[in-house]
């Protein structure tokens, strides 16, 4: 019972520690924490310089988990991330030894994931879904907890390889990182440049912020075991039939081919969300319920997590593109219609 009653307290501790290093982006942090506690992968989408990479680094430090960063490039090969067998010569002779790649960490930052080729992107699938890596016929388990936090730039599309739907579906959330507000921007400046330097130095792109000043975390909030306990506690949170039904109906409503599909889905969607979307909604809603101090899932929880669960699992059709409809507005309307 302790893990349940202390859940909100521990959650708040993580958030507080992250807030020390992240100015603004509360919504992004909230979604990221929900996904991490629920045990899912997150795709962060935003223009460069918004602190996506920094956020992941801070999270790894707060959770005191092994962290690795992979900068995805077009020439990145699968073996570069999974690891490979290398020939090792010792006094006893030569032998092959598996050299673990950067995937072998609890928190993997896949920076600009859409810059890698599909072949390399596909190498992530097993790690994301099965939490294992298979090299040369040998399957190796990845450490728990394990999550892949990927970033991508929505603006610069040249030389990129859009993620296939199968891989997108493996991400629990797709979180949109917005540009900070004026106050948040000022806070970032204070944090990275210092109050005195802010008056003298010109405004630098946020890309360079880690290089200018690397804030040092003094202590971690909780460890891997605490995180796994929180995950188990969240899984026990009951969901009322009506609430669960609304989540399932929402997922079904995204399918334009179903007879009961709403008009907006039939008109603007090419295909709908997979059952993983329903799983993602319910699992993250449970985490949010406990985080809010409740022992049951509410409609509010579904409303909060549903857009992040659905936006990358749906595809707009030609009519939506030509009419200028955005995924966000369509998902918002579906959520409003089906989650009462």
């Amino acid at each position: 019972m302790d893990n349940i009653t202390h859940f909100a307290e521990q959650y708040e501790k993580i958030r507080t520690e992250i807030a020390k290093e992240m100015i603004g982006q509360e919504d992004v942090v909230e979604h990221l924490l929900l996904a991490v506690v629920a045990g899912g992968n997150v795709l962060l989408e935003g223009v460069p310089g918004l602190g996506k990479t920094h956020l992941v680094r801070v999270l790894s430090k707060v959770l005191d988990l092994p962290f690795s960063r992979i900068q995805f490039t077009p020439d990145l090969m699968p073996a570069d991330i999974t690891g490979t067998n290398i020939l090792v010569r010792t006094e006893e002779g030569s032998s092959f030894r598996f050299q673990k790649g950067p995937l072998f960490a609890s928190i993997v930052l896949a920076d600009e994931i859409n810059r890698a080729t599909p072949k390399t992107q596909a190498a992530l699938l097993e790690a994301m879904q099965e939490h294992s890596v298979t090299v040369a016929g040998e399957t190796m388990r990845l450490p728990e907890p394990y999550f892949v936090l990927a970033t991508q730039n929505p603006v610069e599309q040249e030389g990129t390889y859009p993620l296939p739907e199968a891989q997108l579906d493996r991400f629990l959330f797709k979180v949109l990182v917005p540009f900070p507000t004026l106050q948040e921007l000022g806070g970032i400046m204070d944090l990275t440049l210092g109050a005195q330097a802010q008056a003298q130095a010109p405004v630098e792109p946020a890309l360079k912020e880690p290089a200018l000043k690397e804030p040092a975390l003094k202590r971690t909030a909780l460890g891997a075991d605490d995180l796994l306990e929180m995950r188990n506690a969240a899984k026990q949170v009951p969901v009322a039939d009506s609430v669960r039904e609304s989540a399932l109906k929402l997922v079904l409503a995204t399918h334009p081919e179903t007879p009961d599909a709403p008009e907006i889905a039939r008109k603007y969607l090419r295909f709908g969300a997979s059952p993983r979307a329903a799983q993602a909604i319910l699992s993250t809603a449970r985490v949010r319920a406990l985080e809010q101090g409740r022992f049951n899932v509410a409609y509010d929880d579904i409303r909060f997590v549903a857009p992040a669960c659905l936006r990358h699992r749906l595809a707009l059709n030609f009519a939506a593109v030509t009419e200028g409809r955005e995924m966000e507005s369509i998902v918002a309307q579906l959520v409003n219609d089906y989650v009462k």
Partner: protein
């Protein structure tokens, strides 16, 4: 579970109140709709007190719907949802479902369903544990999961802290607006041209009148009943009873008029029968008196012949017995009658002094005495005997006559009343339709003038007729002979009418065939009465046969047209 249900108690009470208000709104709309339909229908189908019934529909519908809606049981799930809507964030619903699941699992019935969620894989591919802790076999008691206990405790605390007054009865604005609109439409039914109210008012007036008539007939029946014979009493009672029954059963004034007319005919027949009986009785009495006088005069043979004829009731034999009297016999009879007259005069004088006889009888006796004193012939004797007998029966017949007269007077009053009402109704209808047709020609009735040009001398001179409509020259002082010689009828072709083209057909390039026919008369022109009176009389006969008119009225109309035709 009980703790949860107890905590939901105030919420359920508030939900009942909300349902009451909601039901009242629906009931108001339904009642107003029913009232509208009722009022619309009864605008054409007369119904007494229809506005009261419509009001009762609205009030009754509102109360009934409100009560029935409020008395429906409020399920715990519904109460839990309402509580969650007040900011409990599905705590109550979840707690209730968990409690029901636990109750089902602990129930002894093996058929209880296990409602726990089936394990399903997570996004990471590993199966997720059930949302509710795994349940053992149904019917086996098991400790509840920690999260369940925590959730229920949390829900109960929140429910107890909840101010149930947050669940406010929603004011049904739309329904009230719809009901108000329907009420306006109800009021608008007054504009419908059905005339239901007028018919109801007429029926009520008729009921009032018929009740008054029945009462008058009853009073007439009781008047001086003591002087009647049993047979007369029975006949009069039957007549008044029939009249009351017919009046009560009458649906309109025409029915009442027919009933009164029927009673009048029966009464007239009764009076005729009484008169015939009286005449026969008078004759028999006179004959008996004459027979006694002949016996006292020593005319035994003639007296025997007369007595024999009287006994047989043969009028011819009586006449023959009297005509066979010789001059000597007549002289004897005269002397005898003179003596009788003297005795009768003395008796009359005594009676007059005592005041025992009525004035009519005294007058009859005086006449008889005078006749007897001067009688020198058979007719004088017969006359005296007849008058004497008449005087003797006058006393006994006077009661029946008075009662019959009273009843006759009552019936006349009824007819006048009904005639007035019918005339008013006709006039009302005529004014509504604008046709200008009217009726009502009985004296004392309000008569309606016909349309333009339907003038006649008799209608104009009719006593008691009330002028209405557009008849010209109804005042005798304004009478002009020319107005009676012609009559306005634009449908009739008069000399002023000209032929008009009725059809045109082209026969070729320069040829056109035109058909002409008689045109209608000039609007200013009148048609001579002689040209149309025959047709009018035929129409009158057909109309009178189908109309609800009393025999007297039909006779009056027939007489009117007969006179017109004769002229």
């Amino acid at each position: 579970m009980n703790e949860l249900l107890k905590a939901l108690g105030p919420v359920r009470s508030r939900l009942r109140l909300r349902r009451f208000v909601s039901g009242a709104g629906w009931g108001f709309v339904g009642g107003a709709l029913a009232a509208l339909i009722l009022l619309a229908v009864t605008s054409f189908v007369p119904l007494a007190n229809r506005w009261w019934i419509a009001g009762a529909c609205i009030a009754g519908g509102t109360l009934l719907a409100a009560a029935s809606n409020a008395l429906r049981p409020v399920s715990p799930l519904e109460a839990a949802r309402a509580a969650d809507a007040c900011g409990l964030r599905e705590r109550a619903v979840t707690a209730l479902e968990l409690a029901e699941t636990a109750a089902q699992l602990q129930a002894p019935h093996p058929t209880a369903t296990d409602r726990k969620e089936a394990p399903h894989p997570t996004a990471t591919g590993r199966p997720e544990t059930a949302s509710v802790a795994p349940a053992p076999q149904a019917g086996v008691s098991r400790p509840e999961a920690d999260i369940t206990l925590l959730q229920r405790r949390d829900a109960c605390e929140r429910l107890q802290a909840l101010d149930a007054r947050q669940i406010r009865p929603a004011f049904p604005k739309r329904r009230l607006l719809a009901g108000a609109l329907l009420l306006v439409l109800c009021a608008a039914t007054l504009l419908l041209p059905g005339g239901g109210d007028r018919a109801v008012a007429a029926r009520q007036a008729l009921e009032t009148k018929t009740a008054a008539m029945a009462k008058a007939a009853e009073e007439a029946e009781k008047a001086d009943e003591a002087g009647l014979t049993e047979k007369e009493k029975a006949e009069l009672r039957k007549l008044t009873a029939d009249l009351k029954r017919d009046l009560t059963a009458s649906r309109d004034e025409a029915d009442a008029l027919v009933a009164v007319d029927k009673a009048e005919q029966q009464l007239q027949k009764l009076r005729q029968e009484q008169a015939q009986e009286k005449t026969a009785g008078d004759a028999m009495s006179a004959m008996n008196a004459l027979s006694r006088a002949m016996q006292s005069a020593g005319m035994d043979a003639a007296a025997d012949a007369l007595a024999e004829a009287l006994a047989s009731g043969d009028a011819a034999a009586m006449s023959k017995a009297l005509s066979d009297l010789s001059a000597e016999d007549l002289q004897k009879l005269s002397e005898s009658l003179t003596g009788e007259a003297k005795a009768l005069a003395e008796a009359m004088a005594r009676t007059a002094q005592q005041g025992e006889l009525s004035e009519a009888r005294m007058q009859a006796l005086q006449q008889a005495a005078n006749a007897q004193q001067s009688a020198t012939s058979q007719s004088a004797a017969q006359s005296a005997a007849s008058q004497t007998a008449s005087a003797q029966s006058a006393a006994s017949q006077s009661a029946a006559a008075r009662q019959a007269a009273a009843l006759q007077q009552a019936l006349a009053g009824m007819k006048a009343s009904l005639g007035a009402g019918q005339s008013q109704q006709s006039a009302s209808q005529a004014s509504m339709s604008g046709a200008g047709a009217g009726s009502g020609n009985n004296p004392g009735q309000s008569g309606g003038g016909a349309g333009a040009g339907s003038t006649n001398e008799e209608q104009k001179g009719g006593s008691g007729g009330q002028k209405s409509g557009g008849s010209k020259g109804t005042n005798p002082a304004e009478f002009k002979q020319t107005e009676y010689e012609t009559i306005y009828d634009p449908e009739k072709v008069d000399v002023a009418a000209r032929d008009v083209m009725t059809n045109q057909q082209s026969l070729g390039k320069d040829s056109v065939q035109i058909e002409t026919g008689p045109g209608k008369g000039s609007l200013e022109g009148n048609v001579p009465v002689s040209q149309v009176v025959g047709e009018y009389a035929e129409q009158e006969v057909k109309a009178a046969e189908s109309a609800n008119l009393t025999r007297e009225q039909k006779q009056w109309v027939d007489e009117y047209f007969r006179k017109l035709t004769e002229e």
